[in-house]
C-alpha cells in the first residue's frame, strides 16, 4: 500500500483566505463608497465566513492523495467520503501557481487537469514545493510506463522515460520582457480599470485638480474638442498643442505601464520541454508553472503586429483543449511565447510542431478576383459610414468619398494579397492580415469538422470558403477560415482536409 500524503498543514489558511478575498474586495469598494455607514456590514460578513472556515478546515484535514501503480487516487471528506481515481495517462496538465504568500511559506497551489470538463480534476490547495516535484515525476514516469506497455510511444520516448531531461527552449530576459510589454500594451487594461474606479468613486475630477493644480473639468476638455471639430470652430494653436501633447503623454504612459506590468508578470519567463510536455514558468510576485503535453496542442498561431516587425520579433500562442471555464486556466497557458526573436522562431516552432515546417510552407494565394469582392464590401461599408454626415459635410462629401474609395482600394489590395493557405503532409496553414498578421497551423489529427461555405456572393462569383473547426479555440483566436477560393480549389481543399481528418485518429 503506497503511503498516503496530505496537504500542507497551512492549507486551510489559503482556502479561507481565498474565500475572504472574494468577499472583502467588493466589500472594501462598497465601504469606501459608502463611507462609515457600512461598518456593521462587516460583522455580517464575518458571520458567513465562520461556518465556511470550519467546513474548509475539515475539507483540508480530510484530503489525502496517493500514487498507485497506474493512477493518482484522491480521497476526501469525513462524512460524505469521496474517492477519485485519475489515471496518469489522462492527466494533461499539472499547473501550479504561487502568490507572494505562497512563496513566503514555500508552498504551491496545484491543479491537476484531464481532458474533459470545465473544472480541474483535482485542486490541491496547497502543497509543499517538494510534493509538486514528486507529483510531476510520478505522473511523468507513470505515463511513460503506460506508453511503453501499450507500445504507442514515439521512438525516442523510451530513452527519455528513464530520466526526463528539462531542456530550455526559450528564456526571456528583462530587455525582451520590456519589449513584449511595449508591443502588447496591456497597460490599457490597468489604466481602464483605474479610470473606472476613479470615476465610480467620484474622485476623478479631484484627482485631475490635484495633478494639474487648477480647476480643469476633465469632461470639459473632450466636450470642447468635440465641439470644436463638429462646429468647425478651430481651437487656438496653443490649446491644440496641449491636446496633442496630452494625448502623446497618455499613450506613452500606457506603454510604460504596460512594460512595467509585463516585467512583473512575466519575470524570468522560461519555456522548456520535459519529455513530451512543454512547460512555462514565469512571474515575479505570482509565480506560475504550467505544462502542456505536446499532443494536446490543437492549433498554433504566430502573431506579428507592426511593432513586432519593427523589432523583428513575433508572438506564439497555442489553443489547447481543456478547462477553459476554470478561472484563467487557459489564459495562463495560451501564450506560449509572448515574444520570440525572428531568428529563434524556426527553432521554437520546430519543437512545438516537430513534423510541420511552418516557415517553409508552400503558400497558395486566394483567388485574385477576391480583390473586387473585398473592394466592394469595404466600399459599401465606407458609404454607409458616410451617409449620416452628408448634411454636415455638404460638398466635402465628395472629397471624403474619394478618400474612402482610395482607402478601400488599398485595403482590399493588401488584404487579399496577404491571404494565403498551405496544406502540408500533416497540417493545414492559413495566414491573414497585412498590418496585424496572423498565421495559424491546425494539424489534420486535430481537425474536428471541415466546412465548405457558399454565400450568395460566393455563388455569384463561383467561389467558396473553407473553414476548419478545432477544439478549444478561444473566441478571439485566429482560425483556419479561408475565404475567396475559386470553387474548384475550395472543393479540392475541402475534400483533402475531410479525407485527412477522417484518416487520422483524434487524441486529446
Amino acid at each position: 500500500m503506497p503511503s498516503e500524503r496530505r496537504l500542507h498543514p497551512l492549507s486551510f489558511v489559503f482556502v479561507i483566505g481565498g474565500q475572504i478575498r472574494q468577499l472583502v474586495v467588493p466589500g472594501l469598494v462598497v465601504l469606501i463608497g459608502a463611507g462609515s455607514a457600512g461598518l456593521d456590514w462587516q460583522g455580517w460578513v464575518m458571520l458567513f465566513v465562520v461556518p465556511y472556515a470550519i467546513v474548509a478546515l475539515l475539507g483540508t484535514l480530510s484530503f489525502r492523495y496517493r500514487f498507485d501503480a497506474g493512477e493518482l487516487v484522491i480521497t476526501r471528506g469525513f462524512v460524505f467520503r469521496n474517492e477519485r481515481h485519475v489515471p496518469y495517462g489522462r492527466i494533461q496538465n499539472i499547473d501550479a501557481v504561487q502568490h507572494v504568500l505562497h512563496r513566503l511559506l514555500r508552498v504551491v497551489d496545484v491543479r491537476v487537469e484531464t481532458g474533459g470538463g470545465d473544472e480541474p480534476e483535482a485542486r490541491m490547495r496547497v502543497l509543499p514545493i517538494a510534493a509538486l516535484e514528486e507529483m510531476r515525476e510520478r505522473v511523468l514516469a507513470g505515463r511513460a510506463a503506460r506508453a511503453v506497455q501499450s507500445g504507442d510511444s514515439p521512438a525516442g520516448a523510451v530513452a527519455q522515460t528513464v530520466a526526463p531531461q528539462r531542456r530550455a527552449l526559450l528564456t526571456l530576459g528583462p530587455r525582451e520582457l520590456l519589449l513584449a510589454g511595449f508591443i502588447d500594451s496591456k497597460g490599457l487594461i490597468i489604466v481602464g480599470a483605474a479610470f473606472g474606479l476613479l470615476w465610480e468613486l467620484g474622485l476623478f475630477d479631484s484627482t485631475v485638480n490635484v495633478l494639474l493644480g487648477e480647476q480643469v473639468s476633465s469632461r470639459g476638455v473632450i466636450r470642447q474638442a468635440v465641439g470644436a471639430l463638429v462646429g468647425g470652430r478651430l481651437p487656438s494653436i496653443g490649446r491644440m498643442a496641449v491636446m496633442v501633447l496630452a494625448f502623446a503623454a497618455f499613450v506613452g504612459a500606457i506603454r510604460v505601464l504596460s512594460m512595467i506590468w509585463s516585467l512583473i508578470r512575466l519575470w524570468g519567463f522560461q519555456l522548456y520541454r520535459v519529455a513530451d510536455d512543454l512547460g512555462t514558468e514565469f512571474g515575479l510576485f505570482t509565480r506560475v508553472m504550467a505544462t502542456i503535453p505536446l499532443r494536446r496542442i490543437q492549433t498554433v498561431t504566430v502573431r506579428e503586429t507592426p511593432l513586432h516587425r519593427v523589432f523583428r520579433t513575433a508572438a506564439i500562442r497555442v489553443d489547447s483543449a481543456g478547462s477553459d471555464g476554470a478561472e484563467g486556466g487557459a489564459a495562463r497557458r495560451e501564450s506560449l511565447a509572448p515574444i520570440v526573436r525572428r531568428a529563434d522562431l524556426q527553432r521554437v516552432l520546430g519543437e512545438v510542431l516537430p513534423d510541420v515546417d511552418v516557415l517553409a510552407a508552400a503558400w497558395s494565394p486566394v483567388d485574385p478576383r477576391g480583390f473586387w469582392r473585398a473592394f466592394r464590401s469595404s466600399l459599401v461599408l465606407a458609404v454607409l459610414l458616410t451617409l449620416p454626415f452628408i448634411a454636415m459635410l455638404r460638398w466635402w462629401t465628395l472629397a471624403w468619398l474619394a478618400v474612402l474609395v482610395g482607402w478601400a482600394w488599398v485595403h482590399a489590395r493588401l488584404y487579399v494579397k496577404h491571404l494565403a493557405w498551405a496544406v502540408g503532409d500533416q497540417a493545414v496553414l492559413f495566414r491573414s492580415g497585412y498590418l496585424w498578421r496572423e498565421l495559424t497551423v491546425a494539424r489534420f489529427n486535430k481537425i474536428q469538422a471541415v466546412t465548405l461555405g457558399e454565400s450568395p456572393f460566393d455563388r455569384r462569383a463561383r467561389m467558396a470558403s473553407v473553414r476548419v473547426d478545432t477544439a478549444g479555440a478561444a473566441n478571439a483566436s485566429h482560425r483556419v477560415d479561408i475565404p475567396y477560393l475559386a470553387r474548384h480549389v475550395a472543393d479540392g481543399l475541402y475534400r483533402r482536409l475531410a479525407g485527412e481528418a477522417a484518416r487520422t485518429a483524434f487524441r486529446w
Partner: protein, 229 residues
C-alpha cells in the same frame, strides 16, 4: 453499411405513423416522387441499390460526385411537420398583433390615415408569415441532404448561405437521437452529433425518420477503443 439495418427494430415504435399514406405534400411532389420513400427504402439504398429513392439531384451547386454514397434526403414528412410548426407560430403572432392593433385602435391617439393602415397592415403581416410558413419548409427540404460513408457523415444545408460540413466518425464524441411531441406524431427524430470542436461542437440533423436516425447513430458511433482520450 449493414449496421444501418440495426435501426430497424426501433422502427417498430414509430412504424405506425411512419407508414401512413404516401405524403401528399404539395409543393415538393412536383420535383420528387415521394411515394416510395418510406424508411425501408432509405435504409436499404446504400447496399442493394434500391431505386425507389428519388434520383440524387444536384440540390446544391457543389458540382462534384458524391463521396461513395449518394445523397440522402430527410424524411418528406418533415415538410408537413415544419408547416404545422409554422401555422402555430403564425397563429400566435397574428393573435398577439391583432390584440395590439385593437388596443392601438381603441386607445391610441392616431391620425385617421394610420387607423386606415392598421388593419391592412396586420392582414399583410399575417398573410406574409402564413405564406412563408407554407412555402419555406419545401424550399428548406430541397436544400438539406446528407451523405454517409465509412469515414463519416457529410451534411449539406442552407438555402442562401450554403454549407457542406464533413464530420469524420473518429471525431464524434457522442450522439443523441431526440424526438419532440410533434416529431413523434410524424414519426420523425433528430440526430445530434457532438464533437470536441468549438463552432461545431453540436451538429444537428433534424427531420430524419426516427428509425433512420437510430440507424445513423449506430453507423456513426465510434468503434473500438483506438481513440483513447
Amino acid at each position: 453499411m449493414g449496421s444501418l439495418g440495426s435501426g430497424r427494430p426501433a422502427s417498430e415504435n414509430t412504424g405506425k405513423s411512419c407508414r401512413r399514406e404516401a405524403p401528399a405534400v404539395p409543393g415538393i411532389g412536383r420535383r420528387y416522387d415521394m411515394s416510395g420513400m418510406d424508411d425501408d427504402s432509405v435504409v436499404a439504398t446504400a447496399e442493394d441499390g434500391a431505386t425507389e429513392l428519388p434520383p440524387p439531384e444536384p440540390a446544391t451547386s457543389f458540382a462534384r460526385p458524391p463521396r461513395s454514397n449518394e445523397l440522402r434526403r430527410l424524411d418528406p414528412h418533415y415538410v408537413p411537420l415544419q408547416r404545422a410548426v409554422g401555422w402555430i407560430v403564425t397563429a400566435v403572432v397574428s393573435v398577439c398583433s391583432l390584440a395590439a392593433v385593437g388596443i392601438l385602435w381603441l386607445t391610441g391617439d392616431l391620425p385617421w390615415i394610420a387607423r386606415l393602415l392598421l388593419v391592412p397592415g396586420w392582414l399583410l403581416v399575417t398573410l406574409g408569415i402564413g405564406w412563408l410558413s407554407y412555402a419555406w419548409p419545401a424550399v428548406h427540404y430541397r436544400h438539406v441532404s446528407y451523405t454517409l460513408d465509412d469515414e463519416g457523415i457529410e451534411i449539406r444545408t442552407g438555402v442562401w448561405w450554403r454549407q457542406v460540413m464533413s464530420v469524420p466518425r473518429s471525431r464524434v464524441q457522442h450522439i443523441d437521437v431526440s424526438q419532440g411531441p410533434l416529431e413523434r406524431s410524424y414519426g420523425l427524430g433528430r440526430l445530434v452529433l457532438y464533437t470536441a470542436g468549438t463552432d461545431h461542437s453540436r451538429v444537428e440533423l433534424a427531420g430524419l425518420n426516427h428509425a433512420v436516425a437510430f440507424g445513423l447513430r449506430n453507423h456513426l458511433l465510434p468503434r473500438g477503443s483506438d481513440d483513447a482520450v
